[in-house]
Structure formats: structure tokens, C-alpha cells
Symmetry: C2
Subunit: 215 residues, 2 copies
């Protein structure tokens, strides 16, 4: 057994360390030097296992995808769909900073680990009995919704707990006559029960889907 204190570097260990740093200190903290330090190694040593920083970031995304927890199937297709959506949301929320990485990706992900959750979701959607083409469309629509919702959730666009919508600052200086809807809805805009809101939008899409199917 080799000395465990000086275990060899591997691509996996490098990516894992980078993910750890990102989760703990944010995306900006993920520098080659910082990740190296996390592993007790100089920055340049990482390049023996990772082409460049972009490749490292890609590795992080892949590693996160690999953590997707496949929900158990139930007897209810609707519930399966909901569970899959929830699992995807949970995963994104567990690693909030991957959202930024996803948002400036420039190519589809192709690693098996990244594809497996996709395969899983496609299976569920096909179960609804849509045509192949429409299955793909529904898949993308749901994917878009989930990702977009979580992005807004994480980014704090919905107000909610995090920084709280600065109503008091705003309400005063807002030209009332120009923002009637905003002002009327302010009480509900200020707070946000993320779970409930997520389920609401999910329900919207699912209802639309069954409506489309029964055409």
C-alpha cells in the first residue's frame, strides 16, 4: 500500500477537490492554485490530469450530474414525472454554482454520467404516449422550466428569504401610476415559498401536457 498521505493525483481527485472548493467558497474561488492547495500540490501539477481550467469546470459539471439520484418508479406516471423534476431541482440546489457553469456551456454534455439522467427523463416522458418528436419537445420544455426556475430561485430573483425584496426602499420611490400591477402584487412578490411555486409551475406544464395528449 502506498503511503496514503501522498496519494497520487488523479483526474477524479482533482475534479472532486474543485467541486468541494466551489460548493464551499463559490465559483470565483475555484482557481488552479486554490484547488492545488486543497490537494497539497502546486497549481501546475493539475495540468497533468486536466487539459485546462475549462476542462476542469466541465469535469465539475459532469461530477454533479453523476450525483443525480434516480427516484424509484411508482405506479403513477404523473408522480414519476414530478419526482424526476424534483430530483433535478434538488441536485441543482445542492450545488448552486453549477448553474453559472451550465449557463455558459457551449456544447451539449456527452459524458455517460451526464446522459444517464437525461435517458431517465426521456423514458418517463415517452411513457405518456406522445410521438417521438413530441416527446423530445416535451422533454425540452420541462427541462427548460426546471432549470429556469431553479436559476431564478438561486439567483434570488424571486425575492424570498435570502436578501428579501427591498420593498420599503422601492415602494417609496416607485412612480405609483406606472406600476399598478407591481404594487398590487407586491405582498406576494416579496415572499416566495419556493417549493410550492415550483410545484405550481410543474402542475401547469403537466396539465398542459395531458390536455395536449387528449386532443
Amino acid at each position: 500500500m502506498p503511503t496514503p498521505t501522498k496519494e497520487r493525483l488523479t483526474r477524479e481527485r482533482v475534479v472532486e477537490a474543485a467541486l468541494k472548493v466551489m460548493d464551499a467558497e463559490g465559483l470565483d474561488a475555484v482557481s488552479m492554485r486554490r484547488v492545488g492547495r486543497e490537494l497539497g500540490v502546486e497549481a501546475m501539477s493539475l495540468y497533468n490530469h486536466v487539459a485546462d481550467k475549462d476542462a476542469l469546470l466541465d469535469g465539475i459539471v459532469e461530477a454533479v450530474m453523476a450525483q443525480f439520484e434516480f427516484p424509484e418508479a411508482t405506479s403513477d406516471r404523473m408522480e414519476d414525472a414530478r419526482n424526476a423534476a424534483r430530483a433535478w431541482r434538488d441536485l441543482l440546489r445542492e450545488h448552486p454554482h453549477v448553474m453559472v457553469l451550465l449557463s455558459h456551456q457551449r456544447k451539449p454534455m456527452t459524458s455517460l454520467n451526464a446522459l444517464r439522467p437525461m435517458e431517465y427523463a426521456l423514458g418517463i416522458i415517452r411513457g405518456f404516449g406522445l410521438s417521438d418528436e413530441e416527446s423530445v419537445r416535451a422533454f425540452r420544455a420541462f427541462g427548460g422550466y426546471i432549470q429556469g426556475f431553479v436559476m431564478a430561485e438561486i439567483a434570488g430573483m424571486f425575492g424570498g428569504e435570502k436578501p428579501k425584496f427591498p420593498v420599503e426602499d422601492l415602494a417609496g420611490q416607485l412612480p405609483v401610476e406606472q406600476f399598478p400591477n407591481f404594487i398590487t402584487l407586491m405582498p406576494y412578490l416579496v415572499e416566495c415559498d419556493f417549493d410550492a411555486e415550483f410545484e405550481y409551475g410543474l402542475d401547469l406544464m403537466l396539465r398542459g401536457l395531458v390536455a395536449k395528449i387528449s386532443d
Copy 2:
């Protein structure tokens, strides 16, 4: 009249230059030095008009929001909703890199310019006759979908034209028995008519909404 070649710097001019650089060369190109050069000025001069780089990036987001083009109202609520969604998508696609900025925002936007499109959308949704609380939920659901779809679209997650899904590379090495759905749907996953797909998901949500209303 002051010499036009040496016009004074303003916050507006700085932000505008930064937006121009971002659109033309990407987000990474937006550095204080680069923006300064765009204006024929040293990097540090920018700090007379912008607190720091984060404030500059916030300014970019705000400037983009201000470009939102409000569609004319029609006699059809559904069509109005669709038009608003399309306008929002168009705006995001015109400045693809703001997506990244939106995704690591940490607070709601509060400038009037940023709020105006929101006010507009809230008005349309309230027109459907939902309760105040439900109007907000629907607003967030739609917003999530649109943003998420465009993010996936821009990021190239859908394959489509940009880098084309590397099917040939993938199809060969895919463990076929583990990815039956993926392989079956591959033809539709490879190509993507973004406009049509966007409309499909939008339709899904709108149908769900009317279904919910007629409960």
C-alpha cells in the same frame, strides 16, 4: 460646444461600452482595461462612474432590460402573453451573455428599467383573472420557463445548429442497452427548431393555465 473627440465620461457611456464589448467578444473580454480602451481612457478612470466591476456588470444587465420592446396589445389575451414571452426571449438572445450574469445575480433587480418589463408581464397575467397570489405564481412559472429555455438554447444543450450534437462520436460508444430512449429519440435530439420548440413549451404552459382557470 465641447470637443466631441474628448467627450466626458458618464456612467451611461461606460456601461454602453461594456455592453458593446460583451456582445462582441464575450463576457470574459469585459475587463476594466478593455472597456477603458474602448473609450480611449485608462482603466482607473472608470471608477469615477462605477463603484466596481460588479456594479458595471449590474449596469449591463439593467441596460439590457431597458431595451425590452413592449409588444402592442391585441384583442387576444393568449396572443398577448405569447408576444410578451417572445419579446423576452428575443431580448435574451440578442445579448446571449447576459444569461451568465443573470444566473449569478444574488439579489432581485430594482431599477425602474428592469422593473418595467416585469410590470408589463404582470399586467398580462392578471388579465387572465387569477387571484393575486396565483398571478404571481403563474408569472414566476412562465418566467422560469422562458429563461430556462433560452439558457438551454444559448448554451447549446439542445444540440441544434451551433456545434451539432456529436451523434456519430456518441452513437458508437454508447452502451446501447443502457440508453434505449436516447437512441430511439436521437434523430429528434440532434436537431432542434428553436422557435417551434419554444412555442411548444409556451403552449404547454398556457394550456395548463386555462385548464387551471376553468377548475
